[in-house]
């Protein structure tokens, strides 16, 4: 029995990784969970220069989930390369760097800067709903998706994951656009844009007015989109959106995801990713699944 998965030539020991933005660069959660157990760590988005992010409050709880509008605060690629990559290199796990930008050249600058760094995969975040420029603007139009994908692919030395926004009419169309642009892998879903109002103060709860919704509440929507994307393209998919348990993760795998990311669940259980890995192994044992690949897309 084995849980190895191959994503565009990169072999992960298991299909479980952390969703960008929920796990920093691993240093904080590394105190609570053995990073060597993870298939990969996906870092918080990093830009060419430091970003201050949005004013607070940046988070709010909602039924079965949360809203966030961090605004991609990050220390910039220099600090990231100096501090976070060496930190992650200490562990036997793959390194996936989430790349964000406000303009095309922002993205490309980070991608080029990472060319000679020992990172395994790049995840291009064209779907953050919480920044005014860039982010989601690149992710809601199929032509823009194909265009930015092609630009990134021209510069990237590592295989490229395009992270898709769920705030679209037709996720299959977006998936096909990324594939047409040359994406090696897709990841979805990013957060769904949501809002919360404080009726007593008569004001938005988040300083940014809207925020990205994540957590168990969005799982059915994420699962549907992963299924639709898997029907639309041939490249592998990293599924995410509300995964807390191994059962959740297996749903995504059966729907067509080759790997899964654990996001908001880290805030609920700091060892959520390891629990998911162990649960997947138990499921495979129970049902005599030799190779986790047998499960990918098995429900259609």
């Amino acid at each position: 029995m084995h849980t190895r998965v191959n994503l565009a030539g990169v072999e992960l020991k298991n299909p479980v990784m952390t969703a960008s933005g929920t796990f920093g660069s691993g240093a904080e959660y590394g105190e609570y969970v053995d990073l060597n157990r993870l298939g990969a760590v996906v870092t918080k988005g990093v830009a060419n220069v430091p970003w201050e992010g949005n004013p607070t409050p940046r988070v709010a709880e909602v039924t079965g989930g949360m809203l966030n509008a961090i605004g991609l605060q990050n220390p910039g690629i220099d600090v990231f390369c100096r501090r976070d990559i060496p930190f992650l290199r200490q562990f036997d796990t793959k390194i996936i760097v989430n790349v964000c930008g406000k303009t095309e050249s922002d993205y490309l600058e980070v991608v080029e800067r990472l060319a000679d760094e020992p990172v395994d995969l790049l995840e291009i975040n064209i779907s953050c709903p919480n920044v005014k420029e860039g982010g989601i603007a690149f992710g809601q139009d199929p032509r823009a998706v194909e265009h930015i994908t092609a630009l990134v692919k021209k510069k990237a030395r590592q295989p490229v994951i395009m992270k898709l926004s769920p705030n679209v009419t037709d996720i299959g169309e977006m998936a096909r656009a990324a594939e047409a642009g040359g994406a090696d892998i897709l990841s979805l879903i990013n957060t769904l844009t949501g809002m919360k109002i404080d009726i007593h103060r008569r004001a938005f709860v988040l300083a940014n007015k809207t925020g990205g919704m994540s957590g168990p509440a969005i799982k059915p929507i994420a699962l549907r989109m992963v299924y639709q994307a898997a029907q639309a393209v041939r490249i592998p998919i990293i599924g995410m959106g509300g995964i807390v348990t191994a059962e959740d993760a297996i749903e995504f795998i059966l729907a067509g995801a080759s790997a899964v990311s654990i996001g908001t669940a880290n805030f609920m259980y700091p060892d959520a990713a390891v629990r998911v890995i162990e649960g997947i192994e138990a499921y495979m044992e129970k049902y005599g699944v030799e190779d986790i690949g047998e499960l990918v897309g098995a429900v259609r």
Binding site: T22, G24, G53
Partner: protein, 252 residues
């Protein structure tokens, strides 16, 4: 390796309207707790996914005393539980107050009062507590009195000085070399101003909406005067770099 534990509630009682006093078994990790740190408690209700940070009021051995206000459905859930119930918990978290051997003024406002009690116990030097309440529900006040003088302010004037904690300090001539404070942001802002004016060292315990509670998600930042070493920008993480900051470090 640190971990989230299943912590058993040892006792719980109501101290005042909407204010509860819970004793909970914190395990080995509790022994390292410092005044001003906090724990995060997790709801059992699946609709409420985020941890609730609760300041540590007292710590005895491996046991925490948590005094908290019902601020929503999550804390209401906690308040419904009695002895024997187990809740997921992490902590102690955050940095805590530095224990300086100086004449200290400990300022607590409302639900910012509880964390000052452990500090009052542990500070080695001369110390005065200044506690600001809404009304005559003077929860914990008598317990502070065991460790030093206490000045009281109430918004409605029903006990102590009518007004806020600074009114009490001025009216009762409270003096010291260092201020430690926890309470609502307007209070902290006024305390900071007072400390700068008097040239006093001042430590403030801040509050901000959190998600992870351990410094990973960057939800609970505050504005820092200098570029923060970790974040690379003018933001510090309240849960990890704080909740206690030297007043001049942060913009309120």
């Amino acid at each position: 390796m640190k971990r989230q534990i299943e912590a058993e509630i040892l006792s719980q009682r109501r101290l005042a309207p909407e204010i509860y006093d819970m004793r909970i078994e914190g395990g080995e990790a509790a022994k390292d707790a410092r005044p001003g740190q906090f724990v995060t408690l997790y709801c059992e209700d699946g609709a409420r996914i985020l941890p609730r940070p609760i300041s540590i009021c007292e710590r005895e051995g491996t046991r925490f005393r948590l005094v908290y206000r019902i601020a929503g459905a999550g804390t209401r859930e906690f308040a419904s539980y009695g002895a024997g119930k187990k809740l997921r918990m992490m902590g102690p978290l955050g940095n805590g107050f530095p224990l300086l051997n100086k004449r200290a003024i400990l300022i607590g406002g409302g639900i910012g009062i509880p964390p000052m009690l452990e500090l009052m116990k542990e500070l080695p030097g001369e110390k005065t507590a200044v506690l600001g309440y809404r009304d005559r529900e003077l929860f914990l006040r008598d317990e502070f009195a065991a460790y030093g003088p206490v000045a009281t302010a109430t918004e409605d004037g029903s006990a102590g000085v009518r007004g806020n904690v600074l009114d009490a300090i001025r009216e009762q001539g409270v003096e010291g070399e260092v201020i430690y404070a926890c309470g609502p942001t307007p209070m902290l802002r006024a305390v900071k101003e007072y400390a700068l004016e008097k040239g006093l060292l001042c430590y403030l315990s801040l509050e901000e909406r959190m998600a992870c509670g351990i410094g990973a998600c960057l939800a609970c930042v505050c504005r820092s005067k200098e570029t923060d070493e970790h974040t690379g920008v003018h933001n510090k993480r309240v849960c990890k770099d704080g909740p206690v900051f030297e007043a001049r470090e942060v913009e309120l």
